[in-house]
């Protein structure tokens, strides 16, 4: 037999060796990361992040666009609201559109004394509570990473409590504003304000549901150290909601 002849037995043997090598590599891979006994191995992208984490970041990126649009709409509606408030009639708006009376209207806006409807001390307290919930959330992640499941449950429950307190504050605030005359469809400002803060509130509520699920799983010992990334992902969402409130608090409440 010449050197160039193909031996079928050699090919079979080589194929079997390759299959064994692949199987060994797969086993090593699973053992290296300690996920073989739980059946939810993490898959990492070439960026060095797991697919789940990358997906969460992409989702948060799309959320940035949503809240960017809502904040923009609020700012633009606020300008129009102030113009309408001080001008009192649509003719002035027409004047602005035509490039007339703009300086006059700007002067009126600057001199206008609009009674603020926002209760800054109350909202500051709400902001502080939400910031604190970010701390407890990250401590929950720290606890599960270290295998301290009792602390995990304590911090998750604390985060939920703080988040629920924030939501209670928002409900109280909305009720107060409504009674004072700021309705959803009364002015474009009201629509933009309630839409922006309402969407944020809905996100906080969604976060509370996620936290409740984590707490439930943890009480049934299904949230172990090897699933720390799940807690981290919920944490990312929760911190994002906090970040959005940082923007809303300054842009909506503090800047008159």
């Amino acid at each position: 037999m010449s050197d160039t002849d193909i031996n079928v037995e050699d090919i079979d043997a080589a194929g079997a060796d390759a299959a064994v090598a692949v199987a060994d590599a797969t086993t090593d891979h699973a053992e290296d990361h300690g996920h073989d006994d739980h059946g939810h191995e993490e898959h990492y992208t070439s960026l060095g992040l797991s697919n789940m984490k990358l997906a969460m970041w992409l989702f948060l990126g799309s959320e940035c666009l949503l809240f960017g649009a809502l904040i923009s709409a609020y700012l633009l509606s606020k300008t129009r609201f102030i113009i309408e408030l001080v001008a009192g009639n649509p003719n002035v708006l027409a004047g602005i559109r035509d490039g007339e009376n703009e300086s006059l209207v700007q002067e009126m806006i600057a001199e206008a004394s609009v009674e603020p409807i926002f209760d800054i001390p109350f909202t500051s307290l709400s902001s502080f509570i939400l910031l604190m919930s970010s701390l407890t959330m990250v401590l929950a992640h720290k606890s599960v990473s270290e295998g301290n499941y009792k602390n995990l449950r304590i911090w998750l429950a604390t985060t939920m409590l703080l988040g629920a307190t924030f939501m209670a504050g928002q409900v109280y605030e909305f009720t107060t504003f409504y009674r004072e005359g700021l309705t959803y469809n009364g002015t474009v400002f009201g629509t933009a304000f309630y839409t922006l803060t309402g969407f944020h509130g809905a996100h906080v509520t969604g976060g509370l549901i996620m936290l409740g699920s984590l707490l439930f799983l943890s009480t049934r010992n299904k949230m172990q150290k090897d699933r720390a990334e799940t807690v981290e992902l919920v944490g990312l969402y929760w911190h994002f909601v906090d970040i959005v409130w940082v923007l809303i608090f300054t842009i909506v409440y503090l800047i008159p």
Binding site: G48, G68, S124, S134, L135, K142, L254
Partner: protein, 113 residues
Amino acid sequence: MATTASDHGHDVAHDDHEHHPTAKTYWITFVLLAILTAVEVAWSYLGLSGPALVVPLILMMVVKFLIVGGVFMHLQTDLKVLNGYWFTLTFGTAVVLAVCVYIIVFAAFRWDI
């Protein structure tokens, strides 16, 4: 044996988890955020108007934004594991582009109803 991108991802990601901030760092970060919030509120009560009021408030807001993103969301450590110069360049360019688009839209916007 050649190291694949996937292997690299595993190594870096797991090293990264070990380099997340300590609990002490988280507490210090929280205190810093609380102080910044207090300063923000106090600043809004100073009776200032125009840029003297708005610019410091926006700056403090951005600092809080970066602190929460960097420390609590682990971007400070996670961005280091993102593999490659081109990804960072693309991501950075997209952020700058988005900010520019927002500024241009705001500058050009007029109510026309």
